[in-house]
Symmetry: C2
Subunit: 261 residues, 2 copies
Amino acid sequence: MTKKDNHVQSVIRALEIIEFLNEKKEQGVTQIGEALDLDKSTVHRLVSTLRYKGYVNQNPVTQKYSNSFKLFEMGTIEIDRLGLIRRANPYLEHLASKTRETVNLAILDGPRAMYVEKIESTEVIKADIGVGRSYPAYATSLGKAMLAYTPREKVIRLFEKEEFTKFTPDTIGSLDELLAELKIIHRRGYAVDDQEFIPGLACVASPVRMGSGDAVAALSISYPRYRYKSGGREELSMVELLLEAARRLSAEFGYEGGVND
Amino acid sequence: MTKKDNHVQSVIRALEIIEFLNEKKEQGVTQIGEALDLDKSTVHRLVSTLRYKGYVNQNPVTQKYSNSFKLFEMGTIEIDRLGLIRRANPYLEHLASKTRETVNLAILDGPRAMYVEKIESTEVIKADIGVGRSYPAYATSLGKAMLAYTPREKVIRLFEKEEFTKFTPDTIGSLDELLAELKIIHRRGYAVDDQEFIPGLACVASPVRMGSGDAVAALSISYPRYRYKSGGREELSMVELLLEAARRLSAEFGYEGGVND
DNA sequence: TATTACGTTTCATATCACGAAACACATATA
DNA sequence: TATATGTGTTTCGTGATATGAAACGTAATA
Protein backbone atom coordinates (compact mmCIF):
# COMPACT_ATOMS: atom_id res chain seq x y z
CA MET A 1 0.00 0.00 0.00
CA THR A 2 2.19 2.77 1.28
CA LYS A 3 5.36 1.23 -0.11
CA LYS A 4 6.20 -1.33 -2.75
CA ASP A 5 5.84 -4.17 -0.23
CA ASN A 6 5.05 -7.48 -1.76
CA HIS A 7 2.29 -8.41 0.64
CA VAL A 8 -0.51 -10.71 -0.33
CA GLN A 9 -3.66 -8.70 -0.86
CA SER A 10 -6.21 -11.43 -0.21
CA VAL A 11 -4.51 -12.47 3.02
CA ILE A 12 -4.54 -8.90 4.30
CA ARG A 13 -8.21 -8.62 3.43
CA ALA A 14 -9.05 -11.91 5.14
CA LEU A 15 -7.25 -10.86 8.32
CA GLU A 16 -9.02 -7.52 8.28
CA ILE A 17 -12.34 -9.34 8.10
CA ILE A 18 -11.41 -11.40 11.16
CA GLU A 19 -10.39 -8.24 12.98
CA PHE A 20 -13.58 -6.49 11.99
CA LEU A 21 -15.69 -9.41 13.23
CA ASN A 22 -13.63 -9.39 16.39
CA GLU A 23 -14.78 -5.91 17.32
CA LYS A 24 -18.27 -6.01 15.92
CA LYS A 25 -19.97 -9.31 16.41
CA GLU A 26 -22.34 -10.75 13.83
CA GLN A 27 -22.03 -9.05 10.47
CA GLY A 28 -23.35 -9.81 6.99
CA VAL A 29 -21.25 -9.83 3.84
CA THR A 30 -22.75 -6.53 2.71
CA GLN A 31 -21.94 -4.80 5.99
CA ILE A 32 -18.42 -6.16 5.96
CA GLY A 33 -17.99 -5.02 2.37
CA GLU A 34 -19.11 -1.51 3.18
CA ALA A 35 -16.84 -1.27 6.19
CA LEU A 36 -13.75 -2.52 4.38
CA ASP A 37 -14.61 -1.15 0.95
CA LEU A 38 -14.83 -4.52 -0.79
CA ASP A 39 -17.36 -6.01 -3.13
CA LYS A 40 -19.96 -8.33 -1.63
CA SER A 41 -18.76 -11.23 -3.71
CA THR A 42 -15.16 -10.74 -2.68
CA VAL A 43 -16.19 -10.71 0.96
CA HIS A 44 -18.27 -13.80 0.45
CA ARG A 45 -15.38 -15.67 -1.11
CA LEU A 46 -13.00 -14.71 1.69
CA VAL A 47 -15.51 -15.40 4.44
CA SER A 48 -16.36 -18.77 2.98
CA THR A 49 -12.65 -19.59 3.00
CA LEU A 50 -12.43 -18.57 6.65
CA ARG A 51 -15.44 -20.74 7.44
CA TYR A 52 -13.88 -23.68 5.62
CA LYS A 53 -10.83 -23.33 7.87
CA GLY A 54 -13.00 -23.00 10.98
CA TYR A 55 -12.32 -19.37 11.85
CA VAL A 56 -15.83 -18.05 11.38
CA ASN A 57 -19.32 -19.44 11.82
CA GLN A 58 -22.46 -18.55 9.98
CA ASN A 59 -25.61 -18.06 11.99
CA PRO A 60 -28.14 -20.35 10.29
CA VAL A 61 -31.10 -18.05 10.87
CA THR A 62 -29.67 -14.58 10.21
CA GLN A 63 -27.08 -15.92 7.71
CA LYS A 64 -24.64 -13.46 9.19
CA TYR A 65 -21.06 -14.31 10.11
CA SER A 66 -19.12 -14.21 13.36
CA ASN A 67 -15.76 -15.38 14.60
CA SER A 68 -15.51 -18.86 16.06
CA PHE A 69 -13.60 -19.72 19.22
CA LYS A 70 -10.69 -21.06 17.26
CA LEU A 71 -8.78 -17.85 17.94
CA PHE A 72 -9.22 -18.39 21.67
CA GLU A 73 -8.12 -21.99 21.41
CA MET A 74 -5.01 -21.09 19.42
CA GLY A 75 -4.25 -18.07 21.57
CA THR A 76 -4.15 -20.06 24.77
CA ILE A 77 -1.88 -22.65 23.20
CA GLU A 78 0.49 -19.84 22.32
CA ILE A 79 0.52 -18.58 25.90
CA ASP A 80 0.81 -22.09 27.32
CA ARG A 81 4.03 -22.66 25.49
CA LEU A 82 6.35 -21.72 28.37
CA GLY A 83 4.09 -23.37 30.93
CA LEU A 84 4.17 -19.95 32.50
CA ILE A 85 0.64 -19.86 33.86
CA ARG A 86 0.83 -23.39 35.17
CA ARG A 87 4.04 -22.70 37.03
CA ALA A 88 3.05 -19.26 38.23
CA ASN A 89 -0.32 -20.25 39.62
CA PRO A 90 0.81 -21.53 43.03
CA TYR A 91 2.65 -18.26 43.63
CA LEU A 92 -0.29 -16.18 42.50
CA GLU A 93 -2.54 -18.13 44.86
CA HIS A 94 -0.16 -17.60 47.71
CA LEU A 95 0.14 -13.87 47.13
CA ALA A 96 -3.61 -13.53 46.72
CA SER A 97 -4.40 -15.32 49.96
CA LYS A 98 -1.77 -13.40 51.94
CA THR A 99 -2.60 -9.92 50.65
CA ARG A 100 -6.30 -10.22 49.75
CA GLU A 101 -5.57 -7.91 46.84
CA THR A 102 -5.65 -8.56 43.10
CA VAL A 103 -2.50 -10.24 41.79
CA ASN A 104 -1.49 -10.31 38.13
CA LEU A 105 0.88 -12.10 35.79
CA ALA A 106 2.02 -10.41 32.59
CA ILE A 107 4.42 -10.93 29.72
CA LEU A 108 6.06 -8.44 27.43
CA ASP A 109 4.46 -8.20 23.99
CA GLY A 110 6.68 -5.79 22.12
CA PRO A 111 6.40 -2.43 23.91
CA ARG A 112 3.28 -3.49 25.81
CA ALA A 113 2.59 -5.47 28.97
CA MET A 114 0.03 -8.17 28.35
CA TYR A 115 -1.94 -9.55 31.27
CA VAL A 116 -2.17 -13.33 30.97
CA GLU A 117 -3.51 -14.38 34.36
CA LYS A 118 -4.92 -12.83 37.48
CA ILE A 119 -6.57 -13.65 40.75
CA GLU A 120 -9.05 -11.08 41.89
CA SER A 121 -9.10 -9.47 45.27
CA THR A 122 -11.81 -10.54 47.66
CA GLU A 123 -12.35 -6.92 48.65
CA VAL A 124 -15.37 -5.07 47.35
CA ILE A 125 -13.21 -2.22 46.10
CA LYS A 126 -10.50 -3.80 43.99
CA ALA A 127 -8.29 -3.47 40.95
CA ASP A 128 -9.53 -5.38 37.94
CA ILE A 129 -7.68 -5.44 34.65
CA GLY A 130 -8.86 -7.94 32.05
CA VAL A 131 -6.78 -10.93 31.06
CA GLY A 132 -5.77 -10.75 27.41
CA ARG A 133 -5.53 -6.97 27.41
CA SER A 134 -2.28 -5.16 26.97
CA TYR A 135 -1.14 -1.69 27.96
CA PRO A 136 1.96 0.45 27.32
CA ALA A 137 4.79 -1.06 29.34
CA TYR A 138 6.17 2.32 30.42
CA ALA A 139 2.92 3.15 32.19
CA THR A 140 2.51 0.01 34.30
CA SER A 141 4.54 -1.52 37.10
CA LEU A 142 4.51 -4.91 35.38
CA GLY A 143 5.85 -3.42 32.20
CA LYS A 144 8.56 -1.42 33.93
CA ALA A 145 9.61 -4.44 35.98
CA MET A 146 10.15 -6.45 32.80
CA LEU A 147 11.87 -3.64 30.93
CA ALA A 148 14.31 -3.16 33.80
CA TYR A 149 15.57 -6.67 33.11
CA THR A 150 15.67 -6.40 29.34
CA PRO A 151 18.86 -5.38 27.45
CA ARG A 152 19.09 -1.62 27.23
CA GLU A 153 19.49 -1.61 23.44
CA LYS A 154 16.32 -3.64 23.05
CA VAL A 155 14.41 -1.21 25.27
CA ILE A 156 15.64 1.68 23.16
CA ARG A 157 14.67 -0.09 19.95
CA LEU A 158 11.19 -0.85 21.31
CA PHE A 159 10.47 2.72 22.35
CA GLU A 160 12.37 5.00 20.00
CA LYS A 161 9.39 5.16 17.68
CA GLU A 162 6.71 5.00 20.39
CA GLU A 163 4.78 7.95 21.65
CA PHE A 164 4.61 8.44 25.38
CA THR A 165 1.04 9.18 26.35
CA LYS A 166 0.39 10.99 29.63
CA PHE A 167 -2.40 8.90 31.14
CA THR A 168 -2.01 10.80 34.41
CA PRO A 169 0.31 13.62 35.56
CA ASP A 170 2.78 11.02 36.84
CA THR A 171 3.04 8.86 33.72
CA ILE A 172 6.57 8.56 32.35
CA GLY A 173 6.80 10.97 29.44
CA SER A 174 9.97 10.19 27.52
CA LEU A 175 12.52 7.51 26.74
CA ASP A 176 15.18 9.24 28.87
CA GLU A 177 12.86 9.35 31.83
CA LEU A 178 12.04 5.68 31.31
CA LEU A 179 15.69 4.62 31.14
CA ALA A 180 16.45 6.50 34.36
CA GLU A 181 13.54 4.84 36.12
CA LEU A 182 14.59 1.40 34.90
CA LYS A 183 17.99 1.86 36.53
CA ILE A 184 16.36 2.50 39.88
CA ILE A 185 14.08 -0.49 39.48
CA HIS A 186 16.99 -2.72 38.55
CA ARG A 187 18.90 -1.72 41.67
CA ARG A 188 15.88 -2.15 43.92
CA GLY A 189 14.41 -5.32 42.37
CA TYR A 190 10.84 -4.11 42.02
CA ALA A 191 8.80 -1.50 40.20
CA VAL A 192 6.13 0.79 41.57
CA ASP A 193 3.21 2.37 39.79
CA ASP A 194 1.70 5.08 41.94
CA GLN A 195 -1.26 6.27 39.88
CA GLU A 196 0.83 6.53 36.74
CA PHE A 197 -1.71 4.77 34.57
CA ILE A 198 -5.09 4.97 36.28
CA PRO A 199 -5.87 7.61 38.93
CA GLY A 200 -6.38 5.93 42.28
CA LEU A 201 -4.69 2.69 41.28
CA ALA A 202 -1.33 1.62 42.70
CA CYS A 203 0.75 -1.46 41.94
CA VAL A 204 4.03 -3.08 42.82
CA ALA A 205 5.66 -5.56 40.44
CA SER A 206 8.72 -7.77 40.30
CA PRO A 207 10.22 -9.64 37.35
CA VAL A 208 10.29 -13.36 36.72
CA ARG A 209 13.75 -13.99 35.31
CA MET A 210 15.21 -16.81 33.28
CA GLY A 211 18.70 -18.28 33.03
CA SER A 212 20.11 -15.32 31.10
CA GLY A 213 18.91 -12.91 33.76
CA ASP A 214 16.38 -11.30 31.42
CA ALA A 215 12.72 -11.16 32.34
CA VAL A 216 10.22 -13.65 30.91
CA ALA A 217 7.28 -12.22 32.82
CA ALA A 218 6.37 -10.23 35.90
CA LEU A 219 4.15 -10.59 38.96
CA SER A 220 2.25 -7.71 40.48
CA ILE A 221 -0.10 -6.79 43.28
CA SER A 222 -2.55 -4.00 42.55
CA TYR A 223 -4.87 -2.12 44.89
CA PRO A 224 -6.66 1.17 45.43
CA ARG A 225 -4.17 3.82 46.49
CA TYR A 226 -6.23 5.00 49.45
CA ARG A 227 -5.98 1.64 51.20
CA TYR A 228 -2.27 1.86 51.99
CA LYS A 229 0.13 4.73 52.59
CA SER A 230 2.67 5.01 49.77
CA GLY A 231 5.92 3.46 50.95
CA GLY A 232 4.35 2.61 54.29
CA ARG A 233 4.82 -0.50 56.39
CA GLU A 234 1.88 -2.40 54.85
CA GLU A 235 2.95 -1.71 51.32
CA LEU A 236 6.53 -2.72 52.04
CA SER A 237 5.44 -6.00 53.56
CA MET A 238 3.52 -6.74 50.35
CA VAL A 239 6.69 -5.98 48.42
CA GLU A 240 8.53 -8.51 50.60
CA LEU A 241 6.01 -11.21 49.72
CA LEU A 242 6.19 -10.25 46.06
CA LEU A 243 9.99 -10.36 45.91
CA GLU A 244 10.05 -13.76 47.55
CA ALA A 245 7.47 -15.15 45.10
CA ALA A 246 9.28 -13.70 42.10
CA ARG A 247 12.59 -15.03 43.34
CA ARG A 248 11.27 -18.57 43.69
CA LEU A 249 9.45 -18.51 40.38
CA SER A 250 12.59 -17.19 38.68
CA ALA A 251 14.47 -20.17 40.10
CA GLU A 252 11.99 -22.43 38.30
CA PHE A 253 12.93 -20.71 35.08
CA GLY A 254 16.62 -21.29 35.67
CA TYR A 255 17.67 -17.99 37.15
CA GLU A 256 20.29 -18.55 39.82
CA GLY A 257 21.65 -15.08 40.56
CA GLY A 258 20.55 -12.58 43.16
CA VAL A 259 18.41 -9.46 42.83
CA ASN A 260 21.41 -7.34 41.79
CA ASP A 261 22.23 -9.25 38.61
CA MET B 1 -9.63 -28.97 -3.43
CA THR B 2 -11.99 -31.84 -2.91
CA LYS B 3 -14.92 -30.02 -4.45
CA LYS B 4 -15.35 -27.08 -6.74
CA ASP B 5 -15.32 -24.67 -3.79
CA ASN B 6 -14.16 -21.22 -4.63
CA HIS B 7 -11.87 -20.77 -1.68
CA VAL B 8 -8.96 -18.41 -1.74
CA GLN B 9 -5.73 -20.34 -2.01
CA SER B 10 -3.39 -17.78 -0.49
CA VAL B 11 -5.66 -17.28 2.51
CA ILE B 12 -5.80 -21.01 3.18
CA ARG B 13 -2.04 -21.20 2.96
CA ALA B 14 -1.58 -18.24 5.30
CA LEU B 15 -3.90 -19.77 7.87
CA GLU B 16 -2.11 -23.09 7.62
CA ILE B 17 1.15 -21.32 8.34
CA ILE B 18 -0.36 -19.78 11.48
CA GLU B 19 -1.64 -23.18 12.54
CA PHE B 20 1.71 -24.79 11.87
CA LEU B 21 3.50 -22.15 13.94
CA ASN B 22 0.91 -22.66 16.63
CA GLU B 23 1.92 -26.26 17.15
CA LYS B 24 5.60 -25.97 16.46
CA LYS B 25 7.15 -22.81 17.79
CA GLU B 26 9.90 -21.01 15.98
CA GLN B 27 10.24 -22.11 12.38
CA GLY B 28 12.16 -20.82 9.38
CA VAL B 29 10.68 -20.28 5.94
CA THR B 30 12.43 -23.36 4.58
CA GLN B 31 11.06 -25.60 7.31
CA ILE B 32 7.57 -24.19 6.86
CA GLY B 33 7.85 -24.71 3.12
CA GLU B 34 8.86 -28.34 3.53
CA ALA B 35 6.08 -29.03 6.01
CA LEU B 36 3.35 -27.47 3.89
CA ASP B 37 4.83 -28.25 0.49
CA LEU B 38 5.31 -24.67 -0.61
CA ASP B 39 8.21 -22.85 -2.16
CA LYS B 40 10.44 -20.84 0.15
CA SER B 41 9.62 -17.63 -1.63
CA THR B 42 5.89 -18.22 -1.35
CA VAL B 43 6.23 -18.87 2.36
CA HIS B 44 8.32 -15.75 2.75
CA ARG B 45 5.74 -13.60 1.02
CA LEU B 46 2.90 -14.98 3.13
CA VAL B 47 4.85 -14.78 6.37
CA SER B 48 5.89 -11.23 5.66
CA THR B 49 2.23 -10.37 5.13
CA LEU B 50 1.36 -11.97 8.47
CA ARG B 51 4.12 -10.02 10.15
CA TYR B 52 2.89 -6.80 8.56
CA LYS B 53 -0.50 -7.47 10.15
CA GLY B 54 1.05 -8.34 13.50
CA TYR B 55 0.28 -12.05 13.62
CA VAL B 56 3.83 -13.32 13.59
CA ASN B 57 7.15 -12.06 14.89
CA GLN B 58 10.60 -12.67 13.54
CA ASN B 59 13.34 -13.52 16.00
CA PRO B 60 16.07 -10.99 15.18
CA VAL B 61 18.92 -13.39 15.91
CA THR B 62 17.68 -16.70 14.46
CA GLN B 63 15.58 -14.96 11.78
CA LYS B 64 12.95 -17.60 12.34
CA TYR B 65 9.26 -16.87 12.71
CA SER B 66 6.77 -17.50 15.48
CA ASN B 67 3.21 -16.49 16.25
CA SER B 68 2.65 -13.30 18.19
CA PHE B 69 0.19 -12.96 21.06
CA LYS B 70 -2.34 -11.26 18.84
CA LEU B 71 -4.30 -14.50 18.63
CA PHE B 72 -4.54 -14.59 22.42
CA GLU B 73 -5.63 -10.99 22.56
CA MET B 74 -8.31 -11.50 19.93
CA GLY B 75 -9.40 -14.83 21.37
CA THR B 76 -10.11 -13.40 24.80
CA ILE B 77 -12.11 -10.56 23.28
CA GLU B 78 -14.23 -13.17 21.53
CA ILE B 79 -14.88 -15.02 24.79
CA ASP B 80 -15.49 -11.80 26.72
CA ARG B 81 -18.35 -10.90 24.46
CA LEU B 82 -21.12 -12.26 26.67
CA GLY B 83 -19.39 -11.11 29.82
CA LEU B 84 -19.67 -14.75 30.76
CA ILE B 85 -16.44 -15.09 32.70
CA ARG B 86 -16.96 -11.83 34.53
CA ARG B 87 -20.45 -12.81 35.62
CA ALA B 88 -19.60 -16.40 36.40
CA ASN B 89 -16.55 -15.66 38.52
CA PRO B 90 -18.29 -14.98 41.84
CA TYR B 91 -20.15 -18.29 41.55
CA LEU B 92 -17.00 -20.17 40.64
CA GLU B 93 -15.26 -18.65 43.65
CA HIS B 94 -18.10 -19.63 45.90
CA LEU B 95 -18.20 -23.22 44.68
CA ALA B 96 -14.43 -23.50 44.92
CA SER B 97 -14.27 -22.28 48.49
CA LYS B 98 -17.18 -24.49 49.61
CA THR B 99 -16.04 -27.71 47.95
CA ARG B 100 -12.24 -27.29 47.81
CA GLU B 101 -12.38 -29.07 44.46
CA THR B 102 -11.64 -27.81 40.95
CA VAL B 103 -14.54 -25.92 39.39
CA ASN B 104 -14.89 -25.24 35.66
CA LEU B 105 -16.84 -23.08 33.26
CA ALA B 106 -17.34 -24.20 29.66
CA ILE B 107 -19.19 -23.19 26.54
CA LEU B 108 -20.34 -25.26 23.60
CA ASP B 109 -18.16 -24.93 20.52
CA GLY B 110 -19.95 -27.00 17.92
CA PRO B 111 -19.87 -30.61 19.16
CA ARG B 112 -17.18 -29.88 21.72
CA ALA B 113 -17.13 -28.46 25.24
CA MET B 114 -14.56 -25.71 25.56
CA TYR B 115 -13.18 -24.82 28.97
CA VAL B 116 -13.01 -21.05 29.33
CA GLU B 117 -12.33 -20.61 33.04
CA LYS B 118 -11.46 -22.66 36.06
CA ILE B 119 -10.44 -22.40 39.67
CA GLU B 120 -8.14 -25.12 40.82
CA SER B 121 -8.66 -27.28 43.85
CA THR B 122 -6.43 -26.64 46.83
CA GLU B 123 -6.01 -30.39 47.31
CA VAL B 124 -2.77 -32.01 46.29
CA ILE B 125 -4.58 -34.60 44.21
CA LYS B 126 -6.89 -32.67 41.94
CA ALA B 127 -8.52 -32.50 38.55
CA ASP B 128 -6.86 -30.09 36.14
CA ILE B 129 -8.06 -29.49 32.62
CA GLY B 130 -6.52 -26.62 30.71
CA VAL B 131 -8.45 -23.48 29.86
CA GLY B 132 -8.74 -23.05 26.11
CA ARG B 133 -8.92 -26.76 25.46
CA SER B 134 -11.99 -28.47 24.13
CA TYR B 135 -13.18 -32.03 24.32
CA PRO B 136 -16.04 -34.03 22.80
CA ALA B 137 -19.23 -32.88 24.48
CA TYR B 138 -20.70 -36.39 24.72
CA ALA B 139 -17.78 -37.51 26.89
CA THR B 140 -17.86 -34.76 29.52
CA SER B 141 -20.39 -33.72 32.12
CA LEU B 142 -20.14 -30.08 31.02
CA GLY B 143 -20.86 -31.03 27.43
CA LYS B 144 -23.77 -33.26 28.31
CA ALA B 145 -25.26 -30.63 30.60
CA MET B 146 -25.27 -28.10 27.75
CA LEU B 147 -26.55 -30.56 25.16
CA ALA B 148 -29.46 -31.51 27.43
CA TYR B 149 -30.66 -27.92 27.10
CA THR B 150 -30.09 -27.57 23.37
CA PRO B 151 -32.85 -28.25 20.81
CA ARG B 152 -32.94 -31.95 19.95
CA GLU B 153 -32.65 -31.30 16.21
CA LYS B 154 -29.51 -29.26 16.72
CA VAL B 155 -27.96 -32.02 18.81
CA ILE B 156 -28.73 -34.51 16.07
CA ARG B 157 -27.26 -32.24 13.44
CA LEU B 158 -24.10 -31.74 15.50
CA PHE B 159 -23.48 -35.42 16.06
CA GLU B 160 -24.86 -37.29 13.07
CA LYS B 161 -21.51 -37.06 11.33
CA GLU B 162 -19.38 -37.36 14.46
CA GLU B 163 -17.61 -40.49 15.55
CA PHE B 164 -18.09 -41.59 19.13
CA THR B 165 -14.72 -42.49 20.58
CA LYS B 166 -14.66 -44.81 23.59
CA PHE B 167 -12.21 -43.02 25.90
CA THR B 168 -13.13 -45.44 28.71
CA PRO B 169 -15.54 -48.40 28.90
CA ASP B 170 -18.27 -46.04 30.13
CA THR B 171 -18.03 -43.38 27.41
CA ILE B 172 -21.26 -42.86 25.50
CA GLY B 173 -20.91 -44.77 22.24
CA SER B 174 -23.71 -43.65 19.93
CA LEU B 175 -26.13 -40.86 19.14
CA ASP B 176 -29.10 -42.91 20.44
CA GLU B 177 -27.33 -43.52 23.71
CA LEU B 178 -26.53 -39.82 23.98
CA LEU B 179 -30.12 -38.72 23.31
CA ALA B 180 -31.41 -41.12 25.97
CA GLU B 181 -28.90 -39.79 28.50
CA LEU B 182 -29.80 -36.18 27.69
CA LYS B 183 -33.43 -36.90 28.56
CA ILE B 184 -32.42 -38.10 32.00
CA ILE B 185 -30.17 -35.09 32.52
CA HIS B 186 -32.92 -32.72 31.46
CA ARG B 187 -35.35 -34.22 33.97
CA ARG B 188 -32.79 -34.19 36.78
CA GLY B 189 -31.15 -30.81 36.07
CA TYR B 190 -27.54 -31.94 36.16
CA ALA B 191 -25.15 -34.23 34.34
CA VAL B 192 -22.71 -36.73 35.78
CA ASP B 193 -19.46 -38.01 34.33
CA ASP B 194 -18.29 -41.05 36.26
CA GLN B 195 -14.97 -41.89 34.61
CA GLU B 196 -16.46 -41.61 31.13
CA PHE B 197 -13.61 -39.51 29.79
CA ILE B 198 -10.59 -40.02 32.02
CA PRO B 199 -10.22 -43.05 34.29
CA GLY B 200 -10.37 -41.98 37.92
CA LEU B 201 -11.95 -38.60 37.16
CA ALA B 202 -15.54 -37.76 38.11
CA CYS B 203 -17.53 -34.58 37.48
CA VAL B 204 -20.97 -33.12 38.02
CA ALA B 205 -22.21 -30.29 35.82
CA SER B 206 -25.25 -28.06 35.48
CA PRO B 207 -26.25 -25.72 32.66
CA VAL B 208 -26.29 -21.93 32.65
CA ARG B 209 -29.46 -21.06 30.76
CA MET B 210 -30.61 -17.94 28.98
CA GLY B 211 -34.02 -16.44 28.33
CA SER B 212 -35.00 -19.03 25.74
CA GLY B 213 -34.23 -21.86 28.15
CA ASP B 214 -31.29 -23.07 26.08
CA ALA B 215 -27.84 -23.38 27.61
CA VAL B 216 -25.20 -20.70 27.08
CA ALA B 217 -22.59 -22.42 29.23
CA ALA B 218 -22.21 -24.91 32.06
CA LEU B 219 -20.58 -25.08 35.48
CA SER B 220 -18.92 -28.18 36.84
CA ILE B 221 -17.08 -29.56 39.83
CA SER B 222 -14.48 -32.22 39.11
CA TYR B 223 -12.56 -34.47 41.51
CA PRO B 224 -10.80 -37.80 41.80
CA ARG B 225 -13.38 -40.58 41.95
CA TYR B 226 -11.86 -42.26 44.99
CA ARG B 227 -12.50 -39.25 47.20
CA TYR B 228 -16.30 -39.56 47.26
CA LYS B 229 -18.69 -42.49 46.90
CA SER B 230 -20.67 -42.28 43.67
CA GLY B 231 -24.12 -40.92 44.48
CA GLY B 232 -23.18 -40.66 48.15
CA ARG B 233 -24.11 -37.92 50.60
CA GLU B 234 -21.01 -35.81 49.98
CA GLU B 235 -21.39 -35.88 46.22
CA LEU B 236 -25.07 -35.00 46.45
CA SER B 237 -24.36 -32.03 48.64
CA MET B 238 -21.91 -30.76 46.01
CA VAL B 239 -24.67 -31.18 43.44
CA GLU B 240 -26.93 -29.04 45.63
CA LEU B 241 -24.37 -26.24 45.67
CA LEU B 242 -23.85 -26.58 41.94
CA LEU B 243 -27.56 -26.43 41.12
CA GLU B 244 -28.01 -23.35 43.25
CA ALA B 245 -25.08 -21.56 41.59
CA ALA B 246 -26.28 -22.50 38.11
CA ARG B 247 -29.80 -21.37 38.91
CA ARG B 248 -28.65 -17.97 40.09
CA LEU B 249 -26.26 -17.47 37.20
CA SER B 250 -29.01 -18.47 34.77
CA ALA B 251 -31.18 -15.77 36.29
CA GLU B 252 -28.48 -13.24 35.37
CA PHE B 253 -28.79 -14.41 31.78
CA GLY B 254 -32.52 -13.91 31.78
CA TYR B 255 -33.75 -17.41 32.49
CA GLU B 256 -36.81 -17.28 34.67
CA GLY B 257 -38.17 -20.84 34.58
CA GLY B 258 -37.47 -23.73 36.92
CA VAL B 259 -35.23 -26.75 36.46
CA ASN B 260 -37.92 -28.67 34.57
CA ASP B 261 -38.21 -26.25 31.68
C1' DT C 1 38.81 -20.12 0.63
C1' DA C 2 35.19 -23.10 -0.63
C1' DT C 3 31.03 -24.91 0.99
C1' DT C 4 26.65 -25.12 2.79
C1' DA C 5 22.51 -23.43 4.51
C1' DC C 6 19.69 -20.03 5.32
C1' DG C 7 16.39 -15.84 4.46
C1' DT C 8 15.51 -12.55 0.88
C1' DT C 9 14.65 -10.43 -3.71
C1' DT C 10 13.73 -10.52 -8.55
C1' DC C 11 10.92 -11.32 -12.45
C1' DA C 12 8.49 -13.61 -16.41
C1' DT C 13 4.46 -16.40 -16.54
C1' DA C 14 -0.36 -17.88 -16.16
C1' DT C 15 -2.99 -18.79 -12.50
C1' DC C 16 -6.06 -17.27 -9.58
C1' DA C 17 -8.51 -13.59 -7.22
C1' DC C 18 -11.30 -10.04 -8.64
C1' DG C 19 -15.93 -7.57 -9.02
C1' DA C 20 -19.99 -6.55 -12.18
C1' DA C 21 -23.94 -8.63 -12.98
C1' DA C 22 -27.37 -12.14 -12.56
C1' DC C 23 -29.61 -15.10 -9.27
C1' DA C 24 -32.53 -16.90 -5.39
C1' DC C 25 -34.93 -15.86 -1.71
C1' DA C 26 -36.56 -13.32 1.64
C1' DT C 27 -39.18 -9.31 3.71
C1' DA C 28 -41.10 -4.90 3.15
C1' DT C 29 -43.97 -1.64 0.45
C1' DA C 30 -47.76 0.12 -2.77
C1' DT D 1 -51.24 -9.37 -4.99
C1' DA D 2 -47.79 -7.25 -7.49
C1' DT D 3 -43.68 -4.53 -6.87
C1' DA D 4 -39.66 -3.02 -4.80
C1' DT D 5 -35.79 -3.49 -1.99
C1' DG D 6 -32.99 -5.96 0.84
C1' DT D 7 -30.29 -10.10 1.78
C1' DG D 8 -26.53 -13.90 0.72
C1' DT D 9 -24.97 -16.59 -3.19
C1' DT D 10 -23.21 -17.97 -7.80
C1' DT D 11 -21.34 -17.19 -12.34
C1' DC D 12 -17.88 -15.83 -15.42
C1' DG D 13 -14.75 -12.97 -18.40
C1' DT D 14 -10.74 -10.14 -17.47
C1' DG D 15 -6.26 -8.83 -15.97
C1' DA D 16 -4.19 -7.84 -11.82
C1' DT D 17 -1.67 -10.44 -8.77
C1' DA D 18 0.18 -14.55 -6.52
C1' DT D 19 3.35 -17.84 -7.95
C1' DG D 20 8.00 -20.45 -7.83
C1' DA D 21 12.55 -21.02 -10.25
C1' DA D 22 16.52 -18.90 -10.03
C1' DA D 23 19.71 -15.50 -8.48
C1' DC D 24 21.31 -12.95 -4.48
C1' DG D 25 23.22 -11.72 0.16
C1' DT D 26 24.84 -13.20 4.28
C1' DA D 27 26.52 -16.05 7.95
C1' DA D 28 28.24 -19.99 9.80
C1' DT D 29 31.02 -24.06 8.94
C1' DA D 30 34.75 -27.23 6.97
